[in-house]
Symmetry: D2
Subunit: 299 residues, 4 copies
């Protein structure tokens, strides 16, 4: 299967060698779209997909994501970035220009429960998650077989409160060695230190097994059961130093009734968790998310 | 339209003159269903619909709802109730035996926003909510026209914190005069005293404009907006003396995205609120709900 | 209530006096967005919302919808339209530039079942459907009371196969007299002649009570019941001369099970029909729909 | 992982050694539930779950599914079956009494696309699908690695129109050798002969990649694309000799829009197909389905 995926990723890179993505946020005012589209037209780029949003046309913040096809993008990219700084300066833009063929590298963190990991591996194998899974780190051994079976490096790093800092040092070293772009916590049941989080702003994606902000913290399914809710949910969000309070990327729910005990809730929940996390990771990989004031704009 | 509904309700009563509903809860043990079904068979009743649930087959609580067709039910009902007390005693049952032709009487409480009231009136006019809407009480005048236009008595009783007790005295008097079975708070924006609540246990149905237990309390849409959630919801529950903590009857959600401001959330929310409340009221009217330890079993 | 709505519509017109919408479709090529955004910038317009889509970046068709805020739009509109013809010619565009304050005029056609009509009236009264409901035409009298109660003209025009042409002549005359922009068939149970349809291209919106293309034609709920489906649906589409084959605007479904008989399916279905039709009408009113080769692009 | 599953299945069998399921259908009349529950009470069985349905209380067909806990079920089962024949005769019942510890044996048929197979394997490994996957038969080799990796026998039997009968002979032999109870067509792209179907009535479960009865037959996603639908679906059904016309077990849909091309529809569809098929198989395994006149009652 891994061979199949290598074919897919090679094919993807070839098909997208001229494809770029431009993300911009800046104070709203007339002329932004005009300036950006003139810039792209100057480089003979064709806009394939464009989404924009403004918090308020008067005095608000403007966001845009453009996906474009530009002949000879590899050759032009450096010059384009250089030129775009002028427009960016004029409109006080925060921006990024990303070539699509540079596939992002992901690290997946996991503990004992494998359903979220397996969904990601599956999507990845079927070519629906165009990332390079650089490595998987587990604080338990459960995931080793399935991960190594796909020729992905697996690192077993036991973890607990007492040794948190040493553990994270090892993890950070690995992330650096593998040049990781995004960290996915696929039901990784350890809390990260503020140092680790600060080193990876808007790069750590977590799945919380409840419909946040309901049931923040531990044992959400048990508490959902006790409260007698009629829907349970899952939430994927960027990790910040406020536990379960980071910018929400995606949420979903499933209907339950009085017959569901805690185990049934967990089973139903697993199915929501895996699809919610997979969608969030996919959107991140495709540069569809802009974080603004602890919220996400998802284009 | 009222004439049309009167026809419908008359027709409903005739069609259901032999229809009864039996609700039972008791400690689980073998022989319960056998005892109940023998009892019904003795009275020549045919079981039309039956739902049961046990919290735990060993040492748990057993719940059953049976809808049956029994020839000459009106004549037999008193004797059946008398006889059933023996079975009930043997199994330590809490139970009710309700004839379906006795349509329940509802009071609707409303403030300024009418969407929940209108959904209920609509369902009622179309014959989907088989209740008698005995009266509508508003602490504002907004609802008068639409209510009186359907020949339903409307009582304007202004309310605020200072006069809460006098207000509730008037309300309780009206509920008694009209022999009301169920009170629906259709976005009634006043808090009820514990005295009022205690006088109507498991009889007051509220709609909360959030996916409880998220955003308990005031201004849920504003807080949902601030948190950047990707789904908003509504919750219908029985009112207890713990604010927004009563047994949940029904919940639903709708998907939202970054483009939705507070007003948009409210508009989307109104549509969820009205359908969630209507379903909860319908289930109550049809004797489908059993409350057990601050949760609902909905059959 | 009508007074309330008049306030709302007046307020809406004032708030949107400078708001315009530009819809464009043309062969895809680089430079389109640049040309359009330069044009808007020249008139000092700020782009508020913009959605685009291309069937294929190479040799496909490009579609864009832009909502913009332009100071003194009323004064400039004529000149802008004049100027835009040059760009349109260069790129072979089909296009429209619509001022938002010019609220569209709708005619609703209805037969005996009122649920779709009532949903539209409700959305309209609550200010969620920014259209002027110019008149309602019924081939039965059932709708008169509710329509006239809102001070909307109601025309009773009995109809059947034999007198179809005379009936439509009257209808077309009324549509002309009231300067109607969009015709909504809210469960109007008469077939329209090709002449009527041809006179109103992409202007007649129908609701079909099934998940098209399943159960094309008559008695869809009966046939859904016979087939034992587990979901039922509704479809809103523009009317063409191929029965139930026009461009689909919106669809939705609800879950059903073996307990649902035909009547239950119809009840459940009514709730889907009314929300699906309301969404389709709203999108049409807001110029969100472009028809292309018997499909809709809904921005 | 297989070891893990073996533990699970052993544990399941032990936990369910006294658990039985009774499925009954017969002409409706008073006394059925009474007779059945007396029977169970006589054997000291406690009813855990019970669902019933009647097509019509007067002259209709009555269906019931009871799950019960009966001490020493293994020892009593033969006698209970013997005794139940008397009740069955009296009420003209079709019935089955199944011990839960006897886990059903499944054969999975697959072609090139593996997503449905993988979902089933996954659910099975996580203990959510309590079946013994006896073997997998493929008319292509794609599935071999993943199947054999789980120590499940894989049989590669190439198939096409010309050799259909020889192929099916081999398959039928294997089904007999492995004592298979249920055959799952997990995107198996071959048509079965009437002989094969007749030999396995209500035992073959298929997944069709459309929302039946829309897009019966080949290339449903292509046709959904051409029609411009706004929802796509999948349908799981028992196989009969009318192509795609067998009793529907489960259906589900996902929302799509104009941006989805055929490939996107297929990707979205895969996710619906796998969950719809998994639910159908689970319900079958748990004896929740009764087929009646080309429809299913799913308890």
């Amino acid at each position: 299967m891994n061979a199949y995926f290598k074919d897919q990723i090679t094919q993807f890179k070839q098909q997208n060698q001229n494809r770029g993505r431009l993300l911009v946020s800046c104070p709203d005012q007339p002329g932004i779209v005009s300036a950006i589209s003139n810039f792209l037209f100057y480089y003979n780029a064709n806009i394939i997909e464009s989404s924009q949003y403004s918090t308020n046309p008067e005095g608000g913040v403007f966001f845009i994501r453009i996906e474009f096809e530009c002949p000879l993008l590899k050759e032009k990219a450096a010059e384009m970035k250089q030129k775009f700084t002028e427009i960016a300066a004029k409109f006080s833009m925060e921006w990024s220009l990303t070539p699509v063929y540079k596939v992002k590298k992901a690290a997946i963190f996991v503990s004992k429960e494998l359903h979220c990991l397996q969904e990601l591996l599956w999507e990845w194998q079927s070519g629906d998650l165009m990332t390079e899974i650089a490595l998987v780190i587990g604080n338990h051994e459960e995931a080793r077989d399935v991960v190594e079976g796909l020729n992905i490096p697996f690192y077993y790093i036991p973890a607990n409160k007492e040794i948190r800092e040493q553990v994270e040092e090892k993890q950070l070293q690995l992330l650096q060695d593998y040049e990781v772009d995004v960290i996915v916590l696929a039901r990784y049941m350890q809390i990260l230190t503020s140092r680790f989080v600060a080193a990876n702003p808007n790069k750590i994606i977590n799945i919380h097994h409840s419909f946040l902000p309901a049931f923040i913290g531990a044992r959400p399914y048990e508490r959902a059961y006790d409260r007698g809710v009629k829907l349970i949910g899952a939430t994927s969000h960027y990790v910040t130093n406020d536990l379960d309070e980071g910018p929400i990327i995606e949420q979903d729910i499933a209907r339950v009734d009085h017959r569901a005990n805690v185990d049934t809730l967990k089973k139903i929940g697993r199915s929501i968790e895996r699809s919610v996390l997979a969608r969030a990771v996919k959107w991140h990989i495709e540069d569809r998310i802009i974080v603004h004031q602890n919220k996400t704009i998802v284009f």
